[in-house]
Symmetry: C2
Subunit: 336 residues, 2 copies
DNA sequence: AAGCCTGATGTTTACGTAAACATATGCGCC
DNA sequence: GGCGCATATGTTTACGTAAACATCAGGCTT
């Protein structure tokens, strides 16, 4: 017996109201199979009257498929990732797919738990940040047989396919550019401790390139918290007041670097003569700075779009793991 | 008969592997009821061996409840909303709740469809931007009997409860501040056509305050696309080259206003003597500007946190509609 | 030693939907 | 005028889980 006062109406309720069977309601709702004009009308009326809303939990359970795409991101505190998410959502919407997501705050343990939770929704696919994941995460994903796309990074072995850029090469390119400008004595400013693995890779590329040319990294200042302009400003003050003051500073991202510019402007430190600066990401807000930062533009939106697109397209799950390099673009600025 | 080669393992599969009944597996998985140490161990082993992942679709269908919170946002293209989302996610995670979300791109029709889609997941609650929604949206939500929180705005009648600020008052406050500084002839620059209803309210507050004091709005420049610094720059150039040039410009948000600052800096227009500027939001990137923008700081993170918190707390659904004013804070800058 | 509780496990059922199969009605055809 | 076929609708079942209820073994009580 259906018709409980308090509960949401089901197809059964609509069926009774319209004087037909539940199956007929199902047919009318989806516009499949054969239905007479008359019945269709009655059912639609009944559905509207009762405020019927289909229950996707039931549909998905029954069909053993969902319109969900799981999305994992390190944080929403950085514009970079909301742009990736933007690309994903824009691509999914209109195709009847919906994102369910969560953030790891750069913790591998959180990622593990999050992935388990997300997979329990039986999503069509999952988008993960970076290529480094715990064994448990990999096993869970493999067992789920779900399609995976990794984004942001291509330095390593993807589970299936990765859309991103070589973080190592980006660091290297930045270093080489600075080296051509004549700088040899560098400082590095980062954040998130060593948890931001892509920042670590960039710095490795930067450091290797510097060392190969006989340059040196005089000081590494990596704070533990999230990156922000104010933190970059503080860190820059510290680094520049050290006895062994660098000629140039490489920042793990634009927020920190912009803070560096703020410090220099407020303290009469001339860029690039007193100190040269370089950041990473090419975020739009850089346009607002009084002086153009040297940075590396990354295909953030495109990574999201391509990742989502890949999950939409019908691909073979057994494909060979591969990486798609979406490249990056060094923007020479006035700070170096 | 279970054990289909291709499909994900279910409790039945684990049960067979462990030589117990499905129900026992369920008990072990959730740690409820009575289970012997021995059986528990066998079941856990079997589950691990088969890579069992619970199916939340089934659980939710069976329990008639989900751990989902639906989130609707106008866009991810503006930092404001990713900050709100950040507040929501941070508050939900750790409580076993998950956000499912979508963006409307400022379209009421899209919102309607999106809300219907989201409600079909039978979420615990739904978070909507603003107080203006189509009748169909309201009806769907009412029928769903789902808990609703509206965020951003408090100028109007909430469906149930709203956490936000008075957009009208914010516009008014900005105008009054500008008026005390002696400006009387104003320009307005907006975007998103008239779709950004909160921007419209702010402008109404601004305009009313200006008119009340005998000032006037000489020009209104509202472009149709999304807001961006570059658009603000273009618009500012246009407005300042008009024959009836305003003494001060009010922008619908900080991105546009920052573009205005860019224009002035590049064209030797001195702020605030040649023209005064004011924005809205108090986004962190303003810190990067060479000159402090007059703006209104909004409690973006807090709106997200409070909204999510309200859905977590056990509230009476039949409560009287009400609005919670989280206030705003005018930041006097160097541009006015 | 019969009765009875307790702890451990099993069986049945319902959640809402949709495929597969079953049934009914009517109409054309030879 | 009976056969067959198309069209419209109904019935059964399964998806995976968990509450409610049923069963069963063993030990304790008197």
């Amino acid at each position: 017996m259906t018709g409980k006062v308090d509960s949401r109406p089901t197809m059964d309720d609509v069926a009774i109201e319209a004087g037909v069977s539940q199956m007929t309601v199902s047919r009318v709702m989806r516009g499949t199979g054969q239905t007479s004009e008359q019945v269709r009308h009655r059912v639609e009326q009944a559905a509207r009257k009762l405020g019927y809303v289909p229950n996707r939990l039931a549909t998905s359970l029954r069909d053993e498929t969902t319109p969900l795409i799981a999305v994992v991101l390190p944080t929403l505190g950085n514009r970079v990732f909301s742009e990736v998410l933007d690309g994903i959502t824009a691509t999914l919407s209109g195709r009847g797919l919906q994102p369910v997501f969560g953030v790891t705050e750069y913790s591998e343990a959180t990622e593990e738990e999050l992935v388990r939770d997300l997979l329990s929704w039986r999503p069509q696919g999952i988008i993960l940040p970076g290529l480094e994941h715990s064994d448990a995460t990999r096993i869970a994903i493999r067992a789920a047989g779900v399609r995976v796309v990794e984004v942001m990074d291509i330095d390593g072995d993807p589970i299936s396919i990765a859309f991103g850029l070589s973080q190592y090469a980006a660091g290297q390119a930045t270093a080489r550019y600075m080296l051509t400008k004549g700088y040899r004595r560098f400082g590095y400013i980062g954040s998130q401790g060593a948890r931001d693995l892509r920042a670590v890779k960039r710095f490795n590329g930067f450091r290797d390139a510097v060392r190969d040319s006989g340059g040196q990294i005089l000081v590494e200042h990596v704070s533990d918290g999230p990156s922000s302009m104010i933190e970059g400003r503080r860190a820059t003050a510290t680094v520049l007041s050290a006895p062994d003051r660098p000629e140039a500073i490489y920042y793990s991202n634009d927020d920190l670097a912009a803070g560096g510019i703020m410090h220099c402007l407020s303290h009469g430190v001339t860029m690039p003569t007193d100190v040269a600066l370089a950041g990473f990401n090419g975020l739009p807000f850089l346009e607002a700075l009084p002086i153009q930062l040297t940075t590396v533009e990354t295909p953030r939106l495109e990574m999201g779009i391509r990742a989502a697109q890949h999950l939409i397209d019908d691909h073979d799950t057994s494909e060979v793991p591969r990486v798609i390099d979406l490249g990056f673009h060094l923007i020479p600025g006035q700070t170096s």
